[in-house]
Amino acid sequence: MGTGTPLPLSFAEMLQVRAKIQQGFPNLAATFQVTSDTTPKYNCIAWAAGDTSRWWWPSTAYYWPSEAPRIETLDAFVKAFATLGYTPCADGSLEVDSEKVAIYCDMGTPTHMARQMRSGAWTSKLGRSWDIGHIAPAEVGGPLYGSVTLYLSRRRA
């Protein structure tokens, strides 16, 4: 689910990390899992795209697919993920042959993306901090990220 690196945390430290995450994301169910250590190397957009080597954002300082406009709009994010074969779809339900991602917006501006795993659960990279697994996309919605505005899907390879 995560980067595969074991978390170098004691049980007590893990409880602290979980409490901190829950403080930022009050809608998270208790079933969420912390699946990686913190890293500033990639963000949620990169994680949704399956890229752990770069920080994706449509500003000149960061990586953004050259075919997509470098503006913070939903359309620019859709175009960026179109370069990976994603197209808009109806919802985040599990479809065996499809990979899905969710785009979150706050007041119309993209803030976050999550990716559906084979199990149907979702994985999110929280800024420069941890990757987490969560059952429903809405669990990371709230004051920080707003809500899911659009789902994209592509045929699973």
């Binding site: 500033p40 920080w55 954002w57 300082a61 960061y62 990586y63 800024g127 420069r128």
Partner: protein, 149 residues
């Protein structure tokens, strides 16, 4: 000199004391956390007093800590750089350059926008945009060449 201080991120008395003391020149004198909500704690605690004028280094440390706490879960580079603490650090001007570079070296972080805007330079190759380690190393090398590090 007696002046109330501003501190961020602290939610309990122990966190408040820890963050206040972390800046070296602050001393926690209270027994409970100020009654505040949210991530940004802007209400000064009457118990926390500035014992002597804040140095540039202490101010930078306080603002850097505030920025790191407030943007921990943020992916948007726009939100990262528009953060109030980050903007105040940019406002410190060239004085902040060695402090930012030292922080980038020791703790990491996305300090690239501040470095670029304070220095007026950008040592990062366009093909390295988004590659954190290469961006970080480019700026650290820039700092070493100018004897900031």
């Amino acid at each position: 000199m007696s002046q109330t201080q501003f501190c961020t991120g602290a939610r309990t008395a122990s966190e408040w004391r820890e963050s206040a003391n972390a800046f070296g020149q602050w001393e926690w004198q209270g027994t409970h956390a100020p009654r505040t909500k949210g991530i940004i704690l802007i209400r000064p605690a009457k118990e926390a007093r500035l014992l002597w004028p804040e140095s540039t280094q202490a101010r930078f440390g306080r603002l850097a800590y505030q920025w790191e706490e407030e943007t921990e879960f943020v992916s948007s580079s726009t939100v990262l750089v528009l953060n109030s603490a980050y903007q105040q650090i940019i406002g410190m001007g060239p004085t902040a350059l060695p402090l930012i570079l030292e922080r980038l070296d020791s703790k990491g972080g996305h300090w690239f926008w501040a470095l670029q805007h304070i220095s007026g330079e950008d040592p990062i190759s366009p093909e390295d945009a988004g590659n954190y380690e290469k961006m970080r190393e480019a700026w650290l090398q820039w700092g070493r060449e100018r004897h900031y590090l």
